[in-house]
Amino acid sequence: MTTVLPNQVPAGTDDADQTCGGPLLLLIASGLLWLVLGGTLALLNLIQVYTPAFLADCAWLTYGRLQAMQETALLYGWAGNAGLAVALWVLARLGGAPLRGPNYIVAGGLFWNLGVTLALVGIAVGDASGHGMFQLPRYVQPFLLFAFGAIAVPGVLAWTGRRNPTTYAAQWYAVAALFLFPWFFSVASVMLTFAPVRGTLQAVVATWYAQNVFSLWLAPVAIAAVYYLLPKITGRVIPSYDFAVYGFWSLLFFGCWMGGRLLVGAPVPAWVSTMAIANAWVVLFHHIIVFFNVRDVFRPGANTTLKFLALGMGAYLLSAVIDTAFSARALAVTTQFTHFQQAQTHLAMGAVALILTGALYHMTPRLAGGNWPSVALIRAHFMAYIIGFVLLVGSLAVAGWIQGSALNDPSVAFTQIAARTKVWLQLATAAQALLVVAHVLFAAHFFKLVGGQMAKCCATRGILTSEATVS
């Protein structure tokens, strides 16, 4: 049924793996801690939707602030850290040399996490910027920019100093993610915080930024991981690879125009959202090519990494189709301003998270120099994650559709809408709770593996060596 090559080289002794493990493990570890924290905050936040009195007396955890906190923790804490680790690892592997300047990663990683911590505290005391996906308080923004720059330097060095002059699709996507983020982040920082544009123009900038976070940063990292890991694991060349380059440029050139589809009917000129909807259709070209390239990922009988990649890719493609379809004004009139849009965000960001998780399953043993300790934990994590994810997206979508249909019937009062959506939101809460369980399992497994390796390391050498030499 499958032509997966036998595993001739046990994990951890892969001679080609010359990557510095320590700095990347630092990023992954902090990413996982943020994942657990962010997931927990998201759980509390979901409960508040249908139980407004829950935690309402605590100014730090009032609904609006908690939402900004969980979004920031998951986006910049989890996806940011893990995405950077995966992108750097892919670039280092394909560059054919150990990462240069690993200390930049350590310093940058510490400051990045300090920045995210500061951002969460800042939001809790009321300094949120008030723009979705960009809730960072003003004093955190320059901080994160420099931290990102420091982390990205070794990645770009790995690209410019690569041994092989030819490049591979995974490298394009990873370099694009590392190179473009500082640009659009600083543009958003200037145009929203330090010299804010006027009136509703801020909404145009904020949606442009939020779209770029996905289309130019997180999605490219995830796709880079798939393009790298799929042939690496299966041993098969990507089919129709000569089209990959068109897929890459069509995402880059058209993807960054798509943000305005959230501004249908908003007080901005109609062309902004029309342009976004038109570009959403063109970007489907990117998805078609990616599908043709990585369709092998959907073959049955894969290992854990490929299972996560398959689900992530499925979510990524489904999310593109749903986003495009529901950007149409005839459907947006119902789904706009409802939980349905949150389900769309969960689907898109969940696609990235699934792929990153898959990549971590492959990377971590190699970086830490040992294999995953427990089979049961992997299976439990996988099941909890998948069930939780599907249930969360599904129930939020149903809740959103009910909410949107009821909003479009002026005779239905808000209390009735709340009553009608309550059961679905409770289901979503259960799903989110399952996701938190999954996150905790994954984080615990990770720390068990890394901790065990570190203990082994100390025992054999008597000192805490850098994991760089282990792999």
Binding site: V4, Q8, A11, K232, I233, D242, A244, Y246, P269, N303
Partner: protein
């Protein structure tokens, strides 16, 4: 989901080295030599799909962009198709305010004027009669005796309100039209509205005009 092919989910194989991965794909990207003379359908299909998407997006953009106008918030609208989207000015509302600003001092809130000093506006031949004469009086002003409803007002003196040399008020044509419409339709008066175009016509027809006198006015149509 655990499949029999990989009983141990910890099994994380590497199918090829990084070096092989890059070179194999480079060969692929360079376009493999067409040794088998195979006809590849996919490039054609993708070209077709891409053209289709671009065509659809272009058509959608063309129809619903409002020609990229900054004033169009409803995507169905086109700048050329609608009338100039300016909120209609209600001449009676505007005229009433203009009247209260200036005219009311002499002609009184009820439009009855002051006997022997300021002529009334209610039911008089000057207000309800020739539009051109009425416009001329307000634009350029009036001096000297005038007969209204059979009473002679010997010391009548009305300043010029229009945008004319020597005029102290410089009211726009729209405002004069509005105030005239107002006095022609208030207090039981029932005459047609005056438009800004009519006012502009009278103003430009007599460029260097000073205040009118009654005989000069009666010479107008």
């Amino acid at each position: 989901m655990s499949s029999p092919a990989s009983p141990d989910p910890r099994h994380e194989p590497s199918g090829m080295t990084d070096e092989n991965l890059i070179t194999a794909h480079e060969k692929e990207a360079a376009g493999a030599p067409d040794t088998h003379a195979q006809y590849r359908l996919l490039p054609l299909v993708l070209l077709f799909v891409f053209s289709g998407l671009i065509f659809y997006a272009g058509a959608y953009l063309n129809r619903y962009s409002g020609h990229f106008s900054r004033d169009i918030f409803d995507e169905r609208q086109l700048p050329a198709s609608g009338q100039p989207a300016v909120a209609a000015i209600d001449p009676v509302v505007l005229g009433k305010r203009q009247y209260a600003l200036a005219c009311v001092t002499c002609h009184m809130p009820n439009g009855m004027g002051v006997p022997n000093l300021y002529p009334p506006l209610v039911g008089t031949e000057w207000v309800l009669g020739s539009e051109e004469r009425l416009i001329a009086i307000v634009v350029h002003g009036l001096k000297g005796p005038i007969t209204v409803k059979g009473n002679v007002y010997s010391a009548a003196a009305m300043p010029a309100f229009g945008q004319v040399p020597g005029g102290g008020y410089n009211w726009s044509d729209e405002r004069i039209a509005a105030v005239l419409t107002y006095i022609r339709q208030e207090w039981g008066n029932e005459a047609g509205a005056i438009t800004a175009q009519q006012v502009a016509a009278v103003r430009t027809a007599h460029p260097d005009r000073k205040e009118w006198t009654e005989p000069e006015l009666l010479a107008l149509p």
